[in-house]
């Protein structure tokens, strides 16, 4: 019981964020013609905030499966790095381990990787309840958004800007947290160049390839000073 209470208290900030962001996702999805069943399915099966916002766009635009796979690969590539830094912590996680790995979002990551739990709190059950509660908040928010979207008493034109705003916020936070701004500038520069060269409908995949290539080529110049130990320190990858 103490474990559930502790987990609940720690997830309160995430609850606020997930309910609101989930709500925004549900409204956006509904505005594109996909109702609460779709919101429920996506929040249960995909459960990745920024990717679900992007997915609304992919659904609305009738993207190809390959384009969707590549987009997911790029947007969610950071999960590889969360996983790498959680391998040790989740090594003895018990029967819930597959779910813990599936439910490792940015926010859940920030809760389970920060410090140790107090006495009387079971570590493995704490991980499980944090993961489960966070996903329940997200599901509740997104389904409520899809249901409410239809009944909103005002013109929702322009509400899709919430996705732009979300990414701008994450970018701003990353910019402040990072000592080296060149990776962000590489991303911006390559994307704008590809936009100019390939146009709005075709720039994304060249940009993904170009960014990975540019960062690989620039590795020697960008490699941070002292070797090693970067995946765990701080969290410049904060996002949703």
């Amino acid at each position: 019981m103490k474990t559930i209470q502790y987990a609940f208290a720690r997830t309160l900030p995430v609850m606020a964020g997930y309910l609101v962001l989930g709500l925004g996702f549900g409204v956006l999805l509904q505005a594109n013609g996909y109702g609460w069943g779709w919101a429920l399915a996506m929040s249960v099966l995909v459960y990745a905030g920024s990717m679900q916002y992007v997915a609304v766009d992919l659904l609305g635009g009738g993207a190809s499966l390959l384009a969707a796979a590549l987009m997911t690969l790029t947007v969610n590539a950071r999960h590889l790095f969360y996983g790498v830094s959680m391998v040790e912590r989740y090594r003895d996680a018990g029967p819930a381990k597959p779910y813990l790995i599936f439910a490792l979002t940015d926010e859940t990551y920030s809760l389970v990787c920060s410090g140790e739990v107090p006495d009387g709190v079971d570590r493995r059950r704490y991980y499980f309840f944090v993961s489960l509660l966070d996903q329940l908040y997200w599901i509740a928010g997104s389904v409520a958004g899809a249901l409410a979207g239809r009944a909103l008493p005002f013109d929702t034109t322009g509400i899709d800007f919430s996705m732009t705003a979300l990414f701008l916020v994450v970018m701003t936070d990353q910019w402040r947290a990072a000592r080296d701004h060149r990776p962000a500038l590489v991303g911006l520069g390559v994307s704008l160049a590809c936009l100019a060269a390939f146009g709005p409908d075709g720039f994304l995949i060249p940009a993904m390839v170009g960014i990975t290539l540019a960062l690989t080529l620039l590795r020697r110049a960008l490699q941070p000073g002292p070797a090693g130990g970067s995946a765990k320190e701080g969290d410049p990858h904060a996002g949703v």
Partner: protein, 111 residues
């Protein structure tokens, strides 16, 4: 009742599968206790910032700088989001205020 959108369901399935793959892969590959390759650690550090910048460009790809509004709604609302986040560090406030401003601009100002 419209017909079930099979392509949309396939898109959701692909997105779910690739997301799960990315989450499980590190545990499958590095679960054995081998050290993480340096190149992976390097990408872990530099890729997130670059990708987020790309996503912002992706969101704004339709903004028409030469069009009738000169992308002013995007510029003003986007600027407000960054300024608010820089000062207040309140994610929800920045998103809500920026989106509301954008909605007012496209519905009532630049019509």
């Amino acid at each position: 009742m419209p017909a079930f959108d099979v392509h949309a369901a396939a898109l959701v399935a692909v997105i779910a599968a690739v997301t799960a793959l990315l989450r499980f892969l590190p545990f499958a590959v590095f679960g054995g206790g081998r050290p993480t390759p340096r190149f992976v650690l390097y990408l872990a550090q530099v890729l997130p910032c670059a990708i987020m910048a790309m996503l912002v460009v992706y969101c704004l790809r339709g903004a028409d700088v030469l069009g009738p509004t000169h992308a002013l709604p995007e510029l003003l609302a986007g600027g407000a989001v960054v300024a608010l986040q820089w000062r207040c560090k309140n994610t929800l406030l920045s998103i809500a205020a920026g989106t509301a401003l954008y909605m007012v601009l496209v519905q009532a100002v630049f019509v």
